[in-house]
Subunit: 364 residues, 2 copies
Amino acid sequence: MSEILHRLSVDLGERSYPILIGAGLLGSVDLSPWVEGSQVMIVTNETVAPLYLKGAEASFPGKSVSSVILPDGEKYKDWQTLNRVFDALLEERHSRKTTLVALGGGVVGDMTGFAAACYQRGVSFIQIPTTLLSQVDSSVGGKTGINHPLGKNMIGAFHQPSVVLIDTDTLKTLPPREVSAGLAEIIKYGLIREPVFLNWLEANMDRLTRLDTDAVAEAVYRSCACKADVVAQDEKEGGLRAILNLGHTFGHAIETFAGYGHWLHGEAVGTGMIMAADLSVREGMISQSDYQRVVRIVQSAVLPQLPPGNMTPDDFMSLMAVDKKNVDGQLRLVLLRSVGEAEVTADASKEHLAATLSAFCGQQ
Amino acid sequence: MSEILHRLSVDLGERSYPILIGAGLLGSVDLSPWVEGSQVMIVTNETVAPLYLKGAEASFPGKSVSSVILPDGEKYKDWQTLNRVFDALLEERHSRKTTLVALGGGVVGDMTGFAAACYQRGVSFIQIPTTLLSQVDSSVGGKTGINHPLGKNMIGAFHQPSVVLIDTDTLKTLPPREVSAGLAEIIKYGLIREPVFLNWLEANMDRLTRLDTDAVAEAVYRSCACKADVVAQDEKEGGLRAILNLGHTFGHAIETFAGYGHWLHGEAVGTGMIMAADLSVREGMISQSDYQRVVRIVQSAVLPQLPPGNMTPDDFMSLMAVDKKNVDGQLRLVLLRSVGEAEVTADASKEHLAATLSAFCGQQ
């Protein structure tokens, strides 16, 4: 049970890197060819460490491997916790040839990548994502960062890993809520530019929620391939890449309102995609039955379809005003041109947006 | 009195940028062509703000300009103070098209550059260095960062400015100690690869310490040109660029030992260059009279020639062990092959290093 089922290359010139996908890869694939120096620092959290730290350590034969174990949760995606990684690196005198390894979900991946981007002005890092969300999202694209009390992911860097190892067996220990959260991002790829994949997802959602190995590996591979294709065309989010944020502007507002960690990122994105689809209907871009199709697939992945009951349109407006996509105070949103095609717009009518917000607020 | 005396291009492909050097430029040169969006955030400190903030604000006609004033000093080059820049940017809702402006010395420049590197994963920045040290050092090369209690500049990024404006008139308000600190870095360029410039410095040191306008503009220009040439060949410090660290390994140890801010960076580099020259003699690389020439020019710039009296060889060894130039625990030093030529080596003999350290420690 340690076959590499899919191998994908993220094509970014001299920063290109491979993604290895399969069941049982952790501890059986030798990652030391991707480590330049002799030092390795694995960054993980207290939930993941007891399950997979030993396997990760075994992935670097012949290297000097140490580890730092962070508290688990989005609320720790802050400077204080990041600083524990710097403390460990400096106390153990890691040089600028060291390699950091992110073992865990999106929070660990974003923080470890940002630590690698900043430590001594930049060192290598490797990602071993252990949640479905991080396998299909943060493993491609090099976005790293931490939160600020006034906005999510506001402080960060673009920093590409040297290799990503995705062992789908790690999903077996994942709580069902987190599986659903990962499915939200997978659905997103179908909605923004992969109509054929969306059809496949509608037909196979049942296998995916049951974590059928082949179905999951296929969905992860097709998601990573979709994101890799977008990122290769637009690494620093000058244009196209912004479509990957479908559902994220509404979603980030929900996450910030609820307090980081109360809603999972993928849950907020699921609801956010439904809200974006609703606004797309009001803008005359998709039909009511297209909207229902979006609601159905989000529902089939066992994801929430409404924002927190006490969240008001004003809450949304003020939280969305700090979104990174905005330019010079202009709110930019990702909407659906059709089911399977997204576009970024700063032209959505204020009235339609207000109508969407009041339709979704105070409904729980 | 607002003539651009020298114009230099730092050649880094698509990240190339100009350096404008002259007297009285601040407030008279329009910098808005280098501002992409409508928002500008000037970052400065409480010493510089009363002197030059108005002039800096006047440099961006037609833009929406705000400012954040930090406390003055190397000891504030930390995360807490950096976070005040992020707070201001987020509170005033600066988008990713904003431009940060560093108005001040090296600390302000390094922090503002790092804030620009990290805010929303990277925004533009402009440098207006107001100290001699920052004009000849941090204005070229794109090194940005903050300190960690366990090491100087350990957390940072490479991030290039879009333009650098050097107004030599700002040096008129600089304390003499800071003029000397700047001269240390200027001398360094002569020592590492510009023997002709070193001769010029020996002949003109008196004009420089008196801040003669033409002499200072010439020295700043030749220093920036030297550094620009090195950086263009080796932006990320893979090799050649490391020679710019002559005197810095010993110097950083002194700064850390004394506590950030007690010794000026340039003062520590001045002493560090003498120590590096001493070790170069012991290694058989330069003669005793070469060494004396190094001591003389450092002395003529009114710089200290010995480390703190209570600093021991052991203090040096443990503080130098965390230097960023080290690779896999191997101490790397910049030594002089001749007066006017430096090289990086990991091969200096431990005995010679110990002899240099005991020769310089406990002498005050």
